[in-house]
């Protein structure tokens, strides 16, 4: 099953930040309710934008978000202290966003993850910067999986983010992402791949059409999760149709359900 990590509860978004400052619980609850209805499987919660307020904002958001949805959460913070505070507050086994091979981040995150039950997003980033090639991405993915397995994490709990980079700066960036995903899903069988899909269209017009088509291409290469907006009904329609085409929808039931609900239209 495709894992949709709903990206909308993030204090870098103006409306969310305003709601957090005003402690407008209705706005947040309504947003996450809509994300669940749209097809989210996790709700990402990021309270990092108001510097110095992350702890109180995260605490408030976790309470309010869980009043609006029974979905598991994706705890989005680079700060293990915030994650330690958040972990006991969640009702379902959470996902954590994220670890990478950057030394400071890695060293801070490993003790938090050790012994905890959770899913983890692992970024193919190290201290030398963004990956430059397919081989770079795959090598980093293998190192991350190796390290996470050492502390007892299962491959099924690991979501590798190959770091999708924009087409606008290099016409090969789409191919790099697709090949990397295919190789990771083959060589490291059992892990998942995820990422911020919309990075691909940065700097180009009509971004949504790029995002939708890219999702279909990525899914053909094994991509089985994305950090995305589940309220974008057109990309969700592409997702559900691709799941059906890949044989992940027996008797095309979800597809038909989507059509009858008016969510999938030709």
């Amino acid at each position: 099953m495709f894992t949709v990590i709903g990206e909308r509860i993030n204090t870098t978004l103006k409306k969310v930040q305003a709601a957090v400052i005003a402690r407008d619980a209705d706005y947040i609850r309504e947003d996450v309710r809509k994300q669940q209805a749209g097809g989210a499987t996790y709700i990402d919660v990021n309270a990092g934008a108001r510097i110095g307020h992350e702890e109180e904002d995260m605490r408030w958001l976790l309470e309010v978000v869980q009043e609006g949805t029974d979905l598991p959460l994706c705890l989005d913070s680079p700060d293990p202290a915030i994650l330690e505070m958040a972990y006991p507050m969640v009702n379902k086994i959470p996902m954590v966003n994220s670890i990478s091979l950057e030394k400071d981040r890695f060293d801070a995150m490993m003790p938090f993850l050790d012994g905890k039950e959770c899913k983890i997003i692992a970024l193919c980033m190290d201290d030398s910067g963004m990956p430059k090639s397919v081989a770079d991405i795959v090598d980093r993915a293998a190192r991350l999986v190796g390290e996470l397995e050492k502390i007892g994490m299962k491959r099924d709990d690991i979501f590798i983010d190959p770091l999708i980079q924009p087409m606008s700066v290099d016409a090969n960036n789409g191919n790099v992402a697709m090949e990397a995903v295919q190789t990771i899903m083959t060589d490291l069988a059992g892990v998942h791949t995820t990422g911020g899909l919309s990075n691909i269209s940065y700097g180009l017009p009509q971004r949504k059409i790029i995002n939708r088509n890219f999702l279909a291409l990525m899914m053909a290469h094994g991509f089985d999760s994305a950090i995305m907006d589940p309220l974008d009904s057109e990309i969700m329609a592409v997702l559900n149709t691709c799941e059906m085409l890949k044989g992940n929808d027996s008797f095309c039931m979800n597809y038909l359900k989507g059509v009858r609900a008016g969510n999938i239209k030709a």
Partner: protein
């Protein structure tokens, strides 16, 4: 002075070969190399920057124009004297410590160079002290800081503080940019300017230096 209208049109299409032919023809007609550079190429790239800022041109088109310009500049280089290539100003540019993102910074670097700036490229994950060193060493007019992460925005503030503490704050203009950065934040940390995209960054850099001149 020659008419550089055609050169502008070709630069906008990003056709490097045609641009080089045009530059060679201008030289054959006796146009001085520094005039072709300043009134032709740099002035045309200013138009590209403005169109990028207004959303008429997109990043790949801007990259093509810049690449075409790069080829044309190579033809002019041997014909330019030291003063001719004396530039719009010197900019020290980098992504702040703890942040490894470089796409935005690279675009800014390219636009600044195309606008005639001498860019001292520091790369990513640059410590505040490194910025200070580079400003001093190169006698830079501007330092441009990039950050993509909310978590590295405080490092921008710290870099500004380190520049202040080193006693060179009045000698250098500080420009900031990056996805989570905005004008309010730039004002808060005491930067001289904020640019939302690479096109406006080079324009702003010129404006800042004009003001201080």
């Amino acid at each position: 002075m020659s008419d550089y209208k055609e050169l502008l049109e070709i630069l906008l299409t990003g056709d490097g070969e045609k641009l080089e032919t045009l530059v060679k023809a201008a030289l054959d007609n006796g146009a001085p190399a520094n005039e072709i550079l300043n009134q032709g190429l740099i002035a045309s790239m200013d138009v590209v920057g403005a169109r990028m800022e207004s959303g008429e041109m997109f990043i790949p088109e801007v990259l093509m124009s810049a690449q075409a310009m790069g080829g044309a500049v190579e033809i002019l280089k041997p014909l330019l004297s030291e003063e001719d290539s004396a530039v719009a100003g010197k900019v020290v540019l980098g992504t702040v410590k703890g942040d490894l993102h470089d796409i935005g910074k690279n675009l800014v670097s390219m636009m600044l160079e195309s606008a005639g700036f001498d860019v001292i490229e520091m790369g990513v994950d640059v410590a505040p002290e490194k910025f200070v060193e580079a400003i001093k060493e190169n006698d830079a007019d501007i330092v441009a800081l990039s950050a993509l992460l909310t978590t590295t925005m405080p490092m921008m503030a710290q870099t500004v503080k380190t520049i202040e503490a080193s006693g060179i704050r009045d000698k250098v203009k500080i420009l900031v940019g990056g996805a989570p950065v905005n004008q309010t934040f730039a004002d808060e940390i005491g930067a001289d300017g904020y640019a939302p995209d690479a096109g406006s960054a080079s324009k702003l850099a010129k404006t800042l230096l004009k003001k201080s001149a």
